[in-house]
Symmetry: none
Subunit: 206 residues, 4 copies
């Protein structure tokens, strides 16, 4: 009865849940975990405080759900990109551009994401990181796989593929930070190109 098509009821539920999460994200990203009260979230989401508690066990649960949702959504997109069966360099380029695009589209979610979740205490993050960390690592692994393939195809040097993945990811993050600080001076398309250039060819004149 409840498997196939979500009854109207359930759709409504989902919509409400979404509104709560949206409100929470907006608030958390601006003022951090401890800077926001449940009453505020309730008011912004236009629900009674009690209703929030029908959907989420507590503030912590709401926060971790938020983080998970964000992580799930974004990392899914990246894994998709990385599973393409194309030319290694093209895939990597697409990875960087996609990641940049995600950042550009979700500036506010970023504040929660960047640095992998500070803002809440580390206790809270403990359980969280298991989930998020796993998702992140999956992307990194997928990226490493692409690298490995590249190495086998002799497109990339014979370096540790995992480290290459770490490197590309770190490079991306660094440039994305620049963009986050001053998106005028550092348009992300330019950033993306720069990242690829530096990653693929290095800085040394030969």
């Amino acid at each position: 009865m409840d498997e196939r098509k979500p009854s109207r009821r359930e759709r409504e539920k989902e919509r409400q849940r979404g509104e709560m999460l949206t409100a929470a994200l907006e608030l958390f990203s601006k003022r951090g975990y401890h800077g926001v009260s449940m009453q505020e979230i309730a008011k912004k989401a236009e629900f009674a405080i009690g209703t929030i508690y029908k959907f989420f066990k507590g503030k912590e649960h709401l926060y971790t759900t938020l983080m998970s949702d964000v992580a799930v959504k974004y990392h899914a997109v990246l894994k998709e990109v990385l599973s393409t069966d194309e030319d290694t360099v093209a895939v990597l380029g697409e990875y960087v551009r996609t990641k940049a695009g995600i950042f550009a589209d979700n500036a506010s979610a970023l504040r929660l994401h960047v640095g992998w979740g500070r803002g809440a205490s580390f206790d809270i993050r403990a359980g969280l990181d298991e989930e998020i960390g796993r998702l992140y690592d999956e992307v990194l692994e997928a990226l490493a796989l692409v690298m490995e393939t590249g190495v086998q195809k002799k497109v990339l040097k014979a370096l540790d593929p995992h480290y290459m993945a770490v490197a590309l990811d770190g490079l991306t993050n660094a440039f994305l930070f620049c963009w986050l600080k001053d998106s005028e001076r550092h348009p992300y398309q330019a950033n993306a190109a720069m990242v690829m250039e530096l990653f693929l060819r290095g800085s040394l004149v030969r």
Copy 2:
């Protein structure tokens, strides 16, 4: 080397201040700004709560002092390294190794530092970042200057020196993260070498 000899009193003061900061650092780095109470810090530092307040105007002041101290100390070391008048590549190598060494020596301070200070609510960071952000930017600028010299010397490619600085810094951070997570599998010396390799020569086979 200092102002005459710091009277025993003053030395004692300094020692106490240090103990407080150490206790606070340990606690903050584990549980974040809001996850730690002043009582806890006092207990850990083995001082009465009132004594803490003789040294620091308040929790915020204690926290920002901590951040500043760490930032000042470490970024001073890096600027020192970057002002050396040696061969570009050697300087960069030294930069990476020094940064790695700093991280290795101060694992707990890191948790506060990484991502440059989120963890406190955003209000608190406001004043803080001006200081810390400035210090960080100074290091980045110094790094960019080294890059520029390298470009002029035709050691490095004719890319934007500032972006090259961002790249090397990002690369370093990424590997340092790896090391932070699992220092067994990723000895920092190896990390340092890897960073240099990737930064200087890129990943592409030619």
Copy 3:
């Protein structure tokens, strides 16, 4: 007589507010502003501390509300008396008896009122006095007006009406103090009569 009918909710609210104020008054009058903690007030009023804060912004607000309420209520009664269009001496007699009656009915409120509000630190009184002082002055002015009329009617001597008002008020207070200390020995009806006698005819044998 009021705005429609106060919903049961609102009546309940009002009752709660009243209980809080009553508890606070009792405590403040016995031990002064700083001698009472919010916890104590909450316990005495049989509410949770948080509930008190739903009704009053803070301790100061609770205190000033108390003072204002008392002042507003009592001074309204006195102004009513003084606006009667009767024989001057009758009005003054009624003023004294009414004031005495008020004191008799509100012994505890007195402790806050007498001396016009010291007991709270001076900071707190600042904003408060503007309100309370004004109310008190209004009564004094009304009393002075009655005096002036009495002078014009040749019932009272041609002295400064304002000073006469001050005198009668001071006389009343002095006797009320006596009564407050030992209400057995100084029944307020006797006090009232004495005040009138002394005020109207003086002490000198002619």
Copy 4:
């Protein structure tokens, strides 16, 4: 050895005690009992905090001593005046003028005195009032005695002498309040004359 002339030591002690009390009075009268910290008093008096505690058992003791001292000093003067063997009316006139003079000379002490000591919690006042109340009552009794003599001399009406004393005292206080608020508009000499006029002859035209 220590009876007759106070050794220099003791004189010094007395001077120090005086300085402490002066500083405390100044502070207490401006900001009330709870608005002033012992550290502040120590700083203002230019003694170490510990030294204050050599002279006074605690804050409360310091405060009550202050009140007592003030009371003792002023009521002594008034008793002196009231013990004069002169014409009743002259004595009463002198009483009012002296009291006014005292007020004029000690505006700051007033704030502590007026209303008989609010500013501290009532608990603190409990023991205090025993002392101060007794002194005050002694003056009142002395005043009553003068009244009684006046009655016997047929200078005053045959009213209760104690109530007459209360009346004159209340009248004085009321006018002194006026003067305290606005000493320009209410010069105390004028006040004193007014008090006598009203007390002796009343307000009624015959």
